[in-house]
């Protein structure tokens, strides 16, 4: 018996290590890919302007990936988000350009519209039990078509500055001159504040755990994690400080990431999503209303698609019927590259965000190198395939 137990401890430790490795693995993969492109592009991709573009170009993928993660956690996907992005963006643009309505009203309308579209999908999925794949496939066609109809096949623009600030604007800027370079102070301060916050939270939770006698990770692991996070945060904020400061959309994305991390890890609804994905029947017999969970997940996806619609048309300063094409695929790929289980039940917000960033770094790097869109798709496809295969390979190895 004691031999058996000892064996058990060993494997569980290995599993813990493997889990941690997997989490860092994705971040390390991101850093490696970024570095490769840095070398290949003569460090063009680490230039301040490009870092800024990287964030602005990928913000909608991250926004969508957050919602898509919840769908993926239940073992499903939402194929309609790209079309919903186009449609909601189009409606907002039409309201502002054609009907001269107030911009906040247009924003609110796009968000409400996205939410209603989500509820519409959720109704078929939860109340009628139609497979989410089918429902969202159908709505992908419906809303792409509607986007074309309301825009009469044309681009709607240009959008006024107050509109575009959401996607292309910056938080208040405080420029100063340090050693001959123009530096934006708010970015630097934000970097320092976030770093301190990370360190404080990490120490606080560790102290809390120790006080209550719970297990904690080793000091080295904690230091490594803190150093890595602080480094990445300040890399971005310093680069942004050297350009135009903090993009408005970065604030939106950060707030969303914090909210979704909290909801998925710390709240009952979040826990219920994982339960539904992990074992639907067991979840139902534990008192979880599976249909309600499914309904709200797709409603939430609609809301985020509406938000992405606003951000995208703001960045482009116009709405086009082709906007958001294949965004659903980018968001789904981000989740799976980020380690979300294809069958559902496992996956993290951090993973999905890192997955989205990997997709973004690939897009951006390949564009800088002047690779054609066709080749870019091939590479992105292969990366997705490789990421999921490697993940599965390690899982099988673990079980063997």
């Amino acid at each position: 018996m004691s031999v058996e137990l000892a064996k058990g401890t060993e494997t569980s430790e290995m599993k813990d290590n493997l889990k941690q490795l997997k989490q860092y693995g994705m971040i390390i993969a991101l850093v490696v890919i970024y570095s490769i492109f840095a070398v290949m592009s003569d460090f063009k991709n680490v230039a301040p302007m490009n870092v800024n573009n990287l964030i602005m170009q990928n913000s909608y993928v991250i926004i969508l990936a957050l919602g898509m993660l919840l769908c993926c956690l239940t073992g499903n996907v939402d194929l309609s988000v790209g079309s919903v992005v186009a449609f909601t963006g189009a409606i907002a643009a039409i309201m502002v350009v054609d009907y001269h309505m107030a911009i906040p009203v247009a924003f609110l309308a796009a968000l409400v519209l996205g939410t209603i579209i989500g509820m519409w999908q959720g109704f078929f999925i939860a109340a009628l039990g139609v497979s989410p794949f089918i429902v969202s496939l159908a709505n992908m066609l419906v809303f792409r078509g509607l986007a074309l109809v309301v825009l009469r096949g044309q681009t709607k623009g240009p959008l006024p500055h107050d509109f575009t600030v959401v996607g292309a604007g910056y938080l208040p800027q405080f420029f100063t001159n340090i050693g001959g370079t123009k530096i934006e102070l708010l970015s630097l301060v934000a970097g320092i504040v976030i770093s301190l916050f990370i360190v404080f939270m990490e120490l606080h939770s560790r102290r809390n755990k120790l006080r209550q006698g719970f297990a904690v990770s080793s000091k080295m692991a904690m230091l490594f994690k803190m150093a890595l996070s602080v480094l990445i945060v300040n890399f971005f904020t310093i680069k942004l400080a050297m350009y135009m400061g903090l993009p408005m959309v970065l604030l939106i994305v950060l707030v969303l990431i914090i909210i979704y991390t909290f909801v998925t890890t710390r709240t009952v609804p979040g826990r219920q999503i994982y339960a539904v994905g992990g074992n639907r029947k067991a979840a139902a017999l534990s008192g979880i209303k599976v249909n309600h969970v499914m309904f709200w997940i797709y409603t939430n996806m609609g809301l985020l698609a509406g938000l992405a619609g606003i951000v995208l048309s703001a960045r482009n300063a116009s709405a086009t019927p082709k906007a958001g094409d294949m965004f659903e695929m980018d968001a789904i790929a981000a989740c799976y590259i980020g380690g979300t289980a294809v069958a559902g039940g496992a996956g993290t917000v951090t993973g999905a965000v890192v997955g989205a960033l990997i997709m973004g770094v690939l897009n951006n790097g390949m564009s800088l190198l002047g690779w054609s869109v066709d080749v870019q798709r091939v590479v992105k496809g292969l990366v997705l395939l490789a990421a999921v295969s490697v993940d599965l390979y390690f899982k099988q190895k673990k079980n063997a």
Binding site: K7, Q212, V268, G278, N279, K281, A282, L285, G287
Partner: protein
């Protein structure tokens, strides 16, 4: 003695350190019907899985000698090529395909490579059906339209189509009624007489075994206890089989309970539930029962009698349509419209089949334990989870009911069956119920873990909870319950107090009821 068609010598098999088979020996003679008997978890199915190649050569030690040669099967195909076919408890038929298609599934009659010859398929299917006396069936009809008994016979026909010489049947009659069972048993006798087919049959039903088996091998705790040989036409003594299966006095297996039985806390009146698939049929009719505080009440019955359906329909209507009847708790009527309401009314249901209904295997012990009480004690008004409370509770229960795991953050998928069952029990104990419905709480777990589960049940009863226990293992019901209701075909056909409870009395109630209904 005629020649042996199969010998399994000194078979040993371990599952991650736990011995499932320990030096098992089995000799089957050519042309006989050999029964294998033993309690759940004794190792019968494991032995048959080794024989049929489900557990490939190399994962066990010992020799499988078939027709004088040592076999090294790597999968089911290998054993089927030799004429060994296993029919599992869960039928491997595809309901939407026709009888003929099912019979030759994986064994198709080909005209050209990969092109099926339907004429030959149909002709052969008809021939086989005729040989088992089912000429009346249209081979082009879908299998799903047949009754369970006929489906089981189609499985046998499927085996015959593969030129079977040794047929293994794992509890073939567990889902059948008396008439269907008899039909099946007659078929086995017929195959033996007319086609010389050897059969190995696993069964719990002693009357069937003593009727058709030539030899009976008894397995207990992974060891062969003895092989009983039939003398001429004298049926085998059932008591001897039981003694071999159980092997020890009943009192040792069930811990004593010192619970004071109190007032009636939970009462069900005229509970009638329709089958959701066929709303015209009642799966349960007019079921009434009650449980007192500190009492353990059992539900006995055959598979398909409606015991799980009863439990699930009570527990927030998770089964059935058109539910009628009353539920009273502490004398007041309650309506349990969904699971959360049931939990709020302090009812808990520990489902059968913990993998499908009880656990989220990907997640850890703590996570699973708190899942049914998240809306209660483990979250605040804003639905934020109290993670510290989770850890305290999980640590507490891990110690209290002795869950063997490295830590509460271990994935439940990596635990043994007994420990998984304890996690499910803890999950429902954490919901602080007054009434616990336990559905097959000891299925597929070893004797030691069973004892621990019984101890937990006793402690719950002693603390004033009411326990409803569903079990297919009659000795278990007899050992642990204060009172037993007997369910047959969706009706309560009898209620036995502790003094009246015995296996024969229960079976008699079932048989008499079935006889009355003429099924």
């Amino acid at each position: 003695m005629s020649e042996a068609i199969l010998e399994m010598r000194h078979i040993n098999k371990e599952f991650s350190g736990v011995k499932a088979l320990d030096d098992v020996n089995l000799v089957v003679e050519k042309g006989e019907i050999h029964a294998i008997c033993g309690e759940n978890g004794a190792g019968k199915s494991t032995l048959m899985n080794i024989l049929s190649g489900v557990y490939p050569f190399g994962t066990y030690s010992g020799d499988v000698v078939y027709k004088g040669e040592v076999c090294k099967f790597h999968d089911i195909k290998d054993s089927e090529r030799k004429g060994i076919v296993i029919i599992h408890q869960e039928l491997a038929l595809i309901p939407l395909l026709s009888i003929a298609e099912n019979m030759f599934l994986g064994n198709e009659n080909l005209q050209y490579p990969n092109v099926i010859d339907w004429d030959v398929t149909q002709r052969k299917a008809m021939e086989v059906l005729k040989s088992i006396g089912m000429d009346g069936e249209n081979v082009n009809h879908t299998v799903g339209d047949l009754g369970m008994g006929k489906q089981q016979m189609i499985e046998i026909a499927k085996a015959l189509a593969k030129d079977v010489e040794l047929l293994i049947l794992d509890e073939p009659t567990s889902a059948l009624n008396e008439e269907e069972s008899n039909m099946l048993l007659d078929l086995l006798l017929k195959l033996k007489k007319e086609q010389g087919i050897t059969s190995i049959m696993i069964s719990h039903k002693l009357n069937e075994l003593s009727r058709i088996a030539d030899n009976i091998t008894i397995i207990r705790d992974g060891r062969t206890i003895e092989t009983i040989v039939r003398n001429n036409d004298e049926p085998i003594d059932e008591n001897r089989i039981i003694k071999g299966m159980v092997g020890r006095t009943i009192t040792n297996r069930y811990p004593e309970r010192h619970a004071a039985v109190g007032d009636v806390i939970f009462e069900v009146k005229d509970w009638t539930v329709a089958d959701p698939e066929e709303p015209k049929n009642n799966k349960l009719s007019q079921v009434s029962f009650h449980v007192r505080r500190g009492e353990v009440v059992g539900f006995a019955g055959l598979m398909g009698a409606g015991r799980t359906e009863l439990a699930m329909s009570l527990f927030g209507r998770t089964y059935g349509a058109g539910v009628k009847g009353k539920i009273l708790k502490d004398g007041r009527e309650i309506v349990l419209k969904d699971v959360q309401t049931a939990i709020d009314n302090k009812i808990a249901y520990v489902p059968e089949d913990r993998h499908t209904y009880g656990l989220v295997l990907l997640n850890d012990i703590k996570w699973n334990m708190t899942l049914a009480s998240l809306n209660g004690r483990f979250s605040n008004k804003q639905s934020v989870i109290r993670e510290d409370d989770e850890i305290y509770a999980a640590e507490d229960y891990k110690k209290k009911i002795n869950i063997k795991a490295n830590s509460i953050t271990q994935e439940v998928g990596s635990l043994s069956g007994g420990n998984q069952q304890k996690v499910v029990l803890a999950k429902w104990m954490l919901s602080e119920p007054d009434v616990l419905i336990l559905d097959e709480p000891t299925r597929g777990i070893d004797v030691g873990a069973k004892y621990e589960i019984y101890t937990i049940i006793n402690k719950l009863a002693e603390s004033g909870k009411a326990i409803v226990m569903i079990s297919s293992e009659m000795p278990e019901l007899l050992g642990i319950c204060d009172r037993v209701y007997v369910l047959n075909a969706g009706r309560v056909v009898g209620e036995l107090a502790k003094e009246q409870m015995n296996q024969e009395a229960i079976m008699k109630l079932i048989m008499d009821d079935s006889a009355r209904k003429g099924i």
